[in-house]
């Protein structure tokens, strides 16, 4: 057996189970088949009225029924589905008795419009309705379930109860880097020796009118509604924003020593984690790319790898003019001339931007890329941007030798997290 510690002397953390659900479907097999076939999960929104909206497309997960619709409820159900798949594959613990902590990336939770409507209705107010009226309705004591549903800790608590994770479950938000942060927290807990295993989940079922409008008002979304599957165009010259999407993914992390001891199949290694916060602006990166560059370098250093040892990048690659420009700046600064030929393909061209879940969803896809030794494409790459000279694996998947891969996640609020994933140590 290879050493259970890496060259920095830290315990090696491996992945022994994975689950994923996106607008492409449920499960690793289905998602990978469609992803490597260059298929898009983006479609017209049917969940709510589209009148007055500039963006009318998204990667909603409509095949998980939630009636009446509630974003938090959908997020919770998708997280359960992804976790079931990951736990079944891992074979760790017993049903309902996972031997380690839970780290959950989840969207901030809030009352949604249907909740306010129910309270407004119950208030009996006919003319003007305000929060005084909603409070009068809440005082009836009939809405206890709303309290629990709308607490920030509720999704993690329900997952902890269902899967029997140990200790206080942590719900992390680093905006669109949350999923990667959840994995990083798991890696750190195992390295500290607090646990031999951790369950890391990211989930996001955010697509409701207000959430879409919020991003729309920040001019972050693509408005290329026709055809929907053509809207997400990462790294293209005509890219015009990201496409909101839903999904969830779960990873069972274990120390290499513990996984080997129980004879678990090793799906890959989380070799390194890096982060750096940006103090420049609430939604934009520092123009010199300092935090992105520092974040990637921190991840490489944590993994004990040189830039030359990275064979593939799974970028944040949202398809906003700003993100892709800044990500190119960061990648070209770290990888130098090699940035032009180092494959970098955005899953978001097909599945859209799964927001809080993106870091976990894309980590699963990065590990599948390592497993299959095949690079999923960046679809909709028709008009290359001469300012971003990259090998984006345009439009079609291709085979490649991949030993180590980098996955980037960036978010509003100056959040930057990079993960390095590798094949099982020889």
């Amino acid at each position: 057996m290879a050493s259970s510690h890496n060259k920095n002397g830290r315990p090696i953390v491996v992945v022994t189970g994975m689950g994923v659900i996106t607008s492409l479907g449920a499960g690793k097999a289905d998602n990978w088949a469609k992803l490597s076939a260059g298929q898009s999960g983006i479609h017209r929104i049917t969940r709510f009225a589209k009148e007055g909206l500039k963006t009318t497309i998204a990667g909603t997960v409509d095949f998980v029924p939630v009636e009446p619709f509630c974003s938090t409820e959908l997020g919770e159900r998708m997280a359960m589905i992804a976790a079931e798949e990951a736990l079944a594959e891992s074979g760790i613990g017993r049903s309902g008795d996972f031997p380690g902590p839970l780290f959950l990336a989840v969207a901030p939770i809030e009352f949604e419009w249907p909740h306010r409507e129910v309270l407004a209705e119950a208030s009996g107010a006919n003319d003007t309705i305000g929060y005084d009226d909603l409070l009068r309705a809440s005082a009836s004591g009939r809405f206890q379930a709303l309290h629990e549903r709308c607490l920030f800790g509720s999704v993690a608590d329900h997952l902890a109860e269902r899967f029997g994770t140990k200790g206080s479950p942590i719900s992390v938000s680093t905006a669109c880097a949350s999923g990667a942060s959840a994995i990083q927290l798991g890696v750190e807990a195992i390295r500290r020796g607090e646990a031999d295993a951790a369950l890391c989940i990211g989930t996001d079922g955010s697509i409701n009118p207000e959430a879409l409008i919020r991003f729309s008002l920040l001019s972050a979304l693509s408005t290329a509604n026709d055809p929907p599957e053509g809207a997400a165009k990462p790294f293209s010259k005509d890219r015009d924003g990201f496409v909101m999407a839903e999904g969830a993914a779960a990873l069972v992390l274990e120390s290499y020593a513990a996984a080997k001891a129980r004879g678990a199949k090793i799906l890959g290694v989380v070799a390194g984690c890096g982060e750096m916060a940006d103090s420049f602006h609430r939604t934009r990166s520092s123009p010199d790319g300092k935090a992105i560059i520092g974040c990637i370098r921190n991840a490489l250093a944590d993994a004990g790898l040189e830039p030359d040892e990275i064979d593939y990048i799974n970028p944040h690659g949202t398809g906003t003019p700003e993100n892709d420009k800044m990500e190119y700046l960061g990648v070209s600064a770290v990888f130098g001339e090699r940035a032009k030929s180092l494959p970098i393909s955005s899953n978001k061209s097909m599945i859209g931007h799964t927001l809080s879940a993106a870091g976990t969803v894309e980590s699963v896809f990065t590990l599948l890329t390592l497993e299959h030794q095949r690079l999923p494409p960046t679809i909709n790459y028709k008009v290359p941007d001469p300012a971003l000279p990259l090998d984006v694996v345009p439009n079609e998947a291709r085979d490649a030798k991949v030993r180590h891969a980098l996955s980037n996640s960036f978010g509003f609020g100056g959040q930057n997290v990079s993960l390095v994933m590798s094949r099982e140590p020889a």
């Binding site: 009148e51 909206l53 500290r192």
Partner: protein, 397 residues
């Protein structure tokens, strides 16, 4: 591999609440037994409103102030106080290595916009289209950034330059405990040298009252201190941040310890009867506070919500030798940052080597003038989350 014996010191605290700003204002008001509560603004609900702040002192740019909602201003202000207290503020080299963990809820709703939509939506021919139209035209584009949970951390990065790392934990009281627990574990294991941890809460919000009131958890009518209530929380507006630091790191830069953060523990249960009692007892047995001679006190994070506070009250009453203070009687309950606030107040008590005035006539709290060399902070969330911290005096070497 980390060295799990590393010590973590608290080298800075930043606190704001209804009692004012900073250690002295808090200690004076607490020692005098002053309770500041507003029973009118949100009647029949009560609130402990934030004392006025001169925002320019910690958030010099008006543009930054405008980009934030009150909860973010409170937190960014308190973070600045903590960084200044620790001698880290304005030092780019240290700030570039400071690991930040913020415990946060979400930001304020625009209650006027919500009310107008609720009022008119039912009259609209197409309610869905009406909602889209109103939100597209009435929401301020930047309101989203004032609502996102991780944007308190984002604002602290922008205003104070904290860039080592930035993580936000969500989940009410438990998030506040786990933020400090993880920050401490990273330091003691060698994953981090210097951390800024805490959070903020604006309790003067109808949207938050609504969330907790749907659960039946809000006190209505006349004010009573926590232990005297049958049931019910009073929200407070406050911000609290701690600078935690590896002992060696602090010594190398001649930073003085306010106290040692010796341990933080958290648990989770789905709260069957007796679960809170069991959790408190397990944490108490393992946290390492029990030893002779006496010199210990408990700062309780009791919320007033039942059955959690009832179980904690009974557990404490069974230990009459322990002097106890429930800080929510003075400050209100502030969910995420309450634990960091109570750790900060514990460092004040240790510095003064005594406790502040009791605020209870039910027999849980009694006068205590010391000695004091360690404080246990409890956190039993109103719905979930049980936690405990041990804060100890650092004896001169």
């Amino acid at each position: 591999m980390g060295d799990s014996t590393r010590e973590a010191w608290i080298t800075g605290i930043g606190i704001v609440s209804c009692l004012g700003e900073g250690p002295d204002a808090h200690w004076q008001a607490l020692s005098a037994g002053h309770i500041k509560v507003d029973a009118k603004t949100f009647a029949p609900y009560l609130v402990h409103p934030l004392a006025p702040l001169e925002l320019d002192k910690q958030i010099p740019k008006k543009g930054d102030q405008r980009q934030m909602e009150p909860w973010q201003r409170i937190g960014t202000y308190a973070a600045g106080l903590a960084l200044a207290d620790a001698g880290v503020k304005g030092n780019p080299e240290l700030l570039g290595r400071t690991d930040m963990i913020v415990a946060a809820g979400g930001g304020e709703r625009d209650v006027a916009v919500d009310g107008a939509i609720l009022t008119n939506r039912r009259k609209a021919g197409n309610p869905g289209a009406f909602l889209n139209e109103r939100l597209m035209s009435d929401l301020r584009p930047t309101l989203f950034l004032a609502q996102l949970s991780n944007l308190l951390a984002g604002n602290i990065s922008i205003v104070h330059g904290v860039t080592g790392s930035s993580r936000t934990f969500m989940g009410e009281e438990a998030a506040g405990v786990d933020a400090v627990r993880i920050a401490l574990a990273r330091i003691t294991s060698g994953q981090s040298e210097l951390a800024l941890v805490g959070g903020s809460h604006n309790g003067e919000r109808q949207d938050l009252l609504l969330l907790y009131d749907t659960g039946g958890h809000m006190l209505r009518g006349a004010f009573k201190p926590v232990w005297e209530r049958e049931a019910g929380m009073v929200l407070g507006s406050l911000g609290a941040f701690l600078v935690l630091e590896a002992r060696e790191h602090a010594q190398a830069r001649n930073a003085k310890p306010l106290a040692r953060l010796s341990a933080v523990i958290s648990e989770r249960s789905s709260r069957p009867p007796g679960a809170v009692t069991g959790a408190l007892e397990r944490m108490w047995q393992s946290i390492g506070a029990q030893r002779e001679p006496a010199g210990i006190a408990v700062l309780s994070g009791a919320t007033g919500a039942q059955p959690a506070t009832g179980e904690e009250r009974a557990w404490l009453k069974a230990r009459p030798e322990l002097p106890v203070r429930a800080t929510a009687s003075y400050l209100g309950h502030a969910l995420e940052p309450q634990f960091a606030m109570n750790i900060a107040l514990a460092t004040l008590a240790l510095r003064h080597e005594k406790l502040f005035a009791p605020a209870d006539s039910s027999g849980v709290e009694r006068g205590y003038d010391g000695p004091l060399d360690r404080v246990v902070v409890t956190a039993v969330g109103h719905w979930r989350g049980e936690g405990m911290a041990l804060i100890e005096e650092v004896k001169e070497a």
